[in-house]
């Protein structure tokens, strides 16, 4: 340490000591000050591994984890609870009448920049998402809307081309999030870096690749059950950390109090830590094999069926999820309302599978190309599948690729098997199944062209009644299992992980947080 001129060593020692004392005092003050201030409950620090590109809900990526941060700043007209029911948010009530949907809005709500939230703002937001000039990634979800009309400052009506049973659900998430027109118009293309909504927190600063700081919105409209102002936290600091081991270390030392996700390998090591809670909300990472049905041998049904029995799903779960997994028949989790426990998980029998391959005309040593993403644990799963299929007589070559070339290969169809993973549950089964199974689905990597499957998918999408939908989605699952277009592997548990002194967390149906009632301390 170099001593500045004109300063004695003793003076510096004194300064250091007083600085230390001041730090200690503020630390004490911080602990007790939370409750005395009434609303302020200190700073929540979050470890987040997936920094969003844009926090403009209309332009945010398809990755649902972005919503963890969007929920800090924005709200929609309505909200979907964990059980799937729709509850009021910025709209106090609504009325469905055929293909007309009329919302009565909450009064006295303002955006972070002070501009009022009213029917004009709501209509402008919906039109913004639909407007092709916005190039919204969510435009497709609101494509059934024919017109949006402002009836009076509190009332807005949406007219759809035909009854759309999914519209309210869609409006509960990104497509329905309300942004400030003033701020969005002023910022233009940069709005995604400076979110302004009506949500519980206001952006303070966002330093790319480092951290995002949001402070309490003092004018937030929502009160807790006891009538206390929300949110309770003063500040939310989101630190962008990608390395799972670093995230785990930060959580165990208290450097962060909440994590987005950790691989099973890491979180199982936190199970004995009394200061850490693992809360299983039913979120699963569902692994699957896309089976390319456009080229031999899997263009035929018999080899696909043989494949389904050739893979040791329990072995994959043990290996890739440290035993923290469920075996399910399809993408439906055990807790989903459209899950059918009678659907069978194909039994693993290497000898039988080998015989089935031989009977189907797939000779010993048939070469197969398995494409995977080059990130753990996918290459490990690929090696296990390689060993399983070798036992059944097939020679698998693994190609481990970076995300872009991986997706490119899957889309072009230059593979036999592709290992993939999706996060489930999604907020509607149509989002779980359609992209992967529909003949026009963007993620239909198996290249399925099955009119029967398309028919039952459409039935499930269009029906408003849950009982009818359950039947339709059972048919969907039965059909895809019968045709073996995908091999469903294990579903790795993905609990939310936080320090035990953090409470009051609320969650979207698919497990993304809402922090308006979160609090730290006892």
């Amino acid at each position: 340490m170099s001593v500045p001129p004109g300063m004695s060593r003793r003076a510096i020692l004194g300064l250091t000591a007083s600085a230390l004392a001041a730090t200690a005092l503020t630390a004490c003050g911080g602990d007790s000050g939370g409750s005395s201030a009434g609303s302020g409950q200190g700073t929540l620090t979050i470890g987040f591994d997936n920094e969003p590109v844009s926090l403009d809900p209309a332009l945010s990526s398809a990755i649902s984890s972005d919503r963890n941060l969007l929920n800090l700043f924005y709200e929609g007209l309505v909200r979907q609870e964990k059980d799937g029911t729709i509850v009021p948010a910025l709209a106090e009530s609504w009325k469905v009448d055929g293909s007309a949907l009329t919302f009565t809005l909450r009064t006295g709500v303002t955006f972070h920049d002070g501009s009022p939230f009213d029917a004009d703002a709501a209509a402008w937001n919906l039109k913004r998402v639909i407007d092709p000039a916005t190039r919204s990634t969510k435009a497709g979800t609101l494509s059934t809307i024919a017109s949006v009309t402002v009836l009076d400052p509190r009332t807005v009506r949406i007219q759809t081309k035909s009854p759309d049973p999914l519209l309210l659900t869609q409006l509960s998430y990104e497509p329905g999030m309300m942004v400030s027109r003033k701020a969005a118009s002023a910022a233009g293309k940069d709005f995604g870096r400076g979110p302004v909504g009506t949500g519980p927190f206001v952006l303070e600063r966002w330093i790319a690749k480092s951290q995002l700081v949001a402070k309490r919105n003092p004018g937030y409209w929502r009160k807790d059950a006891a009538g206390q102002a929300l949110p309770r936290l003063d500040k939310v600091v989101v630190r962008f950390i990608t390395e799972p081991k670093t995230l785990r270390a930060e959580l165990s030392t208290g450097g962060v109090q909440l994590l987005r996700a950790l691989p099973p390998e890491e979180y199982t090591q936190l199970k004995d830590n009394a200061q850490v809670r693992l809360e299983d909300l039913g979120v699963r990472r569902s692994y699957y094999l896309a089976v390319n049905s456009t080229r031999a041998p899997f263009d035929k049904l018999a080899p696909r069926r043989a494949l389904a029995g050739a893979i040791d799903r329990d072995g994959v779960g043990q290996t890739a999820a440290s035993g923290e997994y469920d075996l399910t028949a399809t993408f439906a989790t055990k807790a989903d309302w459209f899950a059918d426990p009678t659907l069978p998980v194909p039994a693993f029998d290497a000898a039988k599978a080998g015989a089935a391959f031989a009977a189907a005309g797939v000779g010993a040593g048939t070469p197969l190309k398995l494409v995977v993403r080059n990130r753990p644990p996918d290459p490990t799963i690929a090696q296990l599948i390689q060993a399983n299929l070798r036992a059944a007589g097939l020679e698998v070559t693994i190609e481990a690729l970076q995300l872009e070339s991986y997706l490119d290969t899957l889309k072009k169809g230059d593979f036999d098997l592709g290992l993939g993973v999706i996060d489930v549950p999604r907020y509607d089964p149509s989002l779980t199944f359609d992209p992967y199974l529909s003949s026009t689905g963007p993620n239909n990597f198996s290249k399925i062209k099955d009119p029967e499957l398309d028919k039952v998918l459409a039935a499930g999408r269009a029906a408003p009644d849950r009982k009818v939908r359950t039947e339709a989605y059972t048919d969907v699952q039965r059909r895809v299992l019968d045709q073996s277009h995908l091999v469903f592997l294990h579903q790795a548990r993905s609990p939310v992980i936080h320090r035990s002194d953090l409470s009051g967390l609320a969650f979207d149906l698919d497990g993304q947080w809402r922090l308006h009632e979160a609090r730290l301390g006892r």
Binding site: K245, G315, T319, P377, A387, I398, A400
Partner: protein, 299 residues
């Protein structure tokens, strides 16, 4: 040139290779040489028996994954329940191939280029050396990565990449030696009496280079093994399910905090072989230096 010699009396000095016996004796007295010889012979023997353990090295068993060293599996099991020791034995074969095939290839091609460039001189020398300089300008691994990127991952292409990075180094050393040797009187004499150029290069010059070339090649072998390990670490070398030491270190880093043995033992194996080649090169140089009387006298 005032030499007046008939071919029969051409005083070609005994080549450096001739004092093989004293050099060998010196090496046997050298503890470094004994150690490295032991390690390298052991590696070759292990590599030779590797086919016997191939089944054990690739048999997955998820129910006994990530075991530490123990009685059933001396060095434990990996993330798929495969025996680490059996996999290391397979890795030894890859290492031997690297040292033999990649370095061997580089040795032959590099020596030929060096001899030609050094002896021919002129535009041929300039052209060859500019290409070599260009190759040497790249950091070692960057060049290897570029070659693998162009050819695609896999053991064969990794070996080609390693040969590409080692060849220019050998060519440079050979050319330097040739430049200093070709001005010697006995070379001039051979030329004057009409000995064909190829004979001069291969019969007269090459044996004199053999000593220093041997030392340098041993050093390059360690570089090559390191490069192979690095490529495999990045997933560009041997492809699964075939193991290699570098790939094993890489896979083990995922589990370093729970099953340290996964990375540590293959890492130690790489270290041991590299140190062995370096010590061998040191010992060889010392032994050769002490037994080069003819060259010393004429130097």
């Amino acid at each position: 040139m005032t030499l007046d010699l008939t071919p029969a009396e051409t005083p070609v000095p005994a080549a450096a290779g001739t004092p093989g016996r004293p050099v060998l004796r010196a090496l046997l007295r050298d503890r470094r040489a004994l150690f490295s010889g032991l390690v390298l012979v052991a590696t070759i023997v292990v590599a030779a028996v590797s086919p016997l353990l191939h089944a054990a090295a690739t048999a997955v068993a998820p129910d006994r994954r990530l075991r530490g060293p123990g009685a059933d599996h001396l060095l434990g099991t990996d993330e798929l329940g495969r025996d680490v020791l059996a996999r290391m034995v397979q890795g030894a074969w890859v290492t031997v191939q690297t040292a033999a095939v990649a370095v061997g290839l580089a040795l032959v091609i590099g020596t030929l280029i060096g001899l030609l460039a050094g002896y021919a001189g002129g535009w041929a020398d300039s052209l060859l050396m500019r290409v070599i300089d260009g190759l040497l300008a790249f950091p070692l691994l960057v060049l290897a990565l570029a070659v693998v990127a162009a050819l695609g991952p896999g053991l064969r292409n990794a070996l080609i990449a390693i040969a590409v990075i080692v060849t220019p180094r050998i060519a440079r050393v050979v050319r330097g030696e040739v430049l200093s040797l070709r001005t010697r009187e006995w070379v001039a004499a051979a030329r004057i009496v009409g000995v064909p150029r190829r004979t001069i290069l291969l019969r007269h010059l090459l044996p004199h280079l053999a000593g220093s070339l041997l030392v340098f090649t041993a050093l390059q072998a360690s570089t090559a093994i390191m490069a192979e390990a690095a490529l495999s670490f990045l997933g560009l070398g041997v492809q699964p399910p075939q193991p290699s030491w570098g790939a094993m270190v890489s896979a083990g880093t995922e589990h370093l905090d729970t099953t340290w043995a996964l990375s540590v033992f293959p890492g130690l194996a790489i270290l041991l072989v590299i140190v062995a080649f370096n010590l061998l090169a040191d010992a060889l140089r010392d032994a050769l230096d002490a037994h080069r009387p003819q060259l010393r006298a004429t130097a």
